[in-house]
């Protein structure tokens, strides 16, 4: 596609439920990143996929968070047993080869846990 697409744009869920957030990167971009954006915390790195390499999961805050990327394209971020502190905007970005060039963000998914 023309840009990085994320869905849903907004998600309200009850505490304890599982949620799935989707990211469709720019076609041909091998690198895909997930970030969490919340007030006072700025952009928090979550996970990084690069081609067929094992993902860098060093930013995932707990084992309730997981992500996968199927076929080197679409990625899904899953949060299990959501907590109120998970409320944030979840941003996805992709780039052609990793690193900073051509790095493009999606518009994000605003997650609210009630």
């Amino acid at each position: 596609g023309a840009g990085v697409s994320q869905s849903p744009s907004n998600k309200v869920t009850e505490k304890g439920k599982d949620v799935e957030l989707r990211c469709d990167p720019i076609s041909g971009h091998t690198a895909l990143y997930w970030y969490r954006q919340s007030l006072g915390q700025g952009l928090e790195f979550l996970i990084y996929f690069q081609g067929n390499s094992a993902p860098d999961k060093s930013g995932l805050p707990s084992d309730r968070f997981s992500a996968e990327r199927t076929g080197g394209s679409v990625s899904t971020l899953t949060i299990q047993r959501t907590q109120q502190e998970d409320s944030a905007v979840y941003l996805c970005a992709s780039s052609p080869t990793g690193g900073g060039y051509g790095y493009t963000f999606g518009s994000g998914t605003r997650l609210t846990v009630v």
Partner: protein, 108 residues
């Protein structure tokens, strides 16, 4: 460890005043530094990168390796510059990392 520090959470200036948003980094290799901007209700977008040595919307940023800084500057701030600004670092062996951001408010 690699780190990007933006010491100011909020910077408030009057229209026409000079503005400098600070960014310091920690990285032992050859860094690539970027500034990203997020205007209200818009997605995060690239403002400028050090390697291009360009001026975008009147903003410039110079990489100072001695001081490990990449401060963003504009001589005369405009109200439309009000936004969230993020400094970012890219390098060998790690993913793209961002500072916590500085909110710039330009008052009329």
């Amino acid at each position: 460890a690699q780190r990007v520090t933006q010491p100011e959470k909020l910077l408030s200036v009057f229209k026409g005043a000079p503005v400098e948003l600070k960014c310091n980094y920690s990285y032992s290799g050859s860094p690539e530094l970027f500034w990203y901007v997020q205007y209200s209700r818009q997605r995060l977008q690239l403002l400028l990168r050090h390697i291009s040595r360009e001026s975008i919307k009147g903003f410039t940023a110079d990489l100072n390796k001695g001081e490990t800084s990449f401060h963003l500057k504009k001589p005369f701030a405009q109200e439309e510059d009000s936004a969230m600004y993020y400094c970012a670092l890219s390098g060998q062996g790690f993913s793209f990392i961002f500072g916590k951001g500085t909110r710039l408010l330009v008052k009329p």
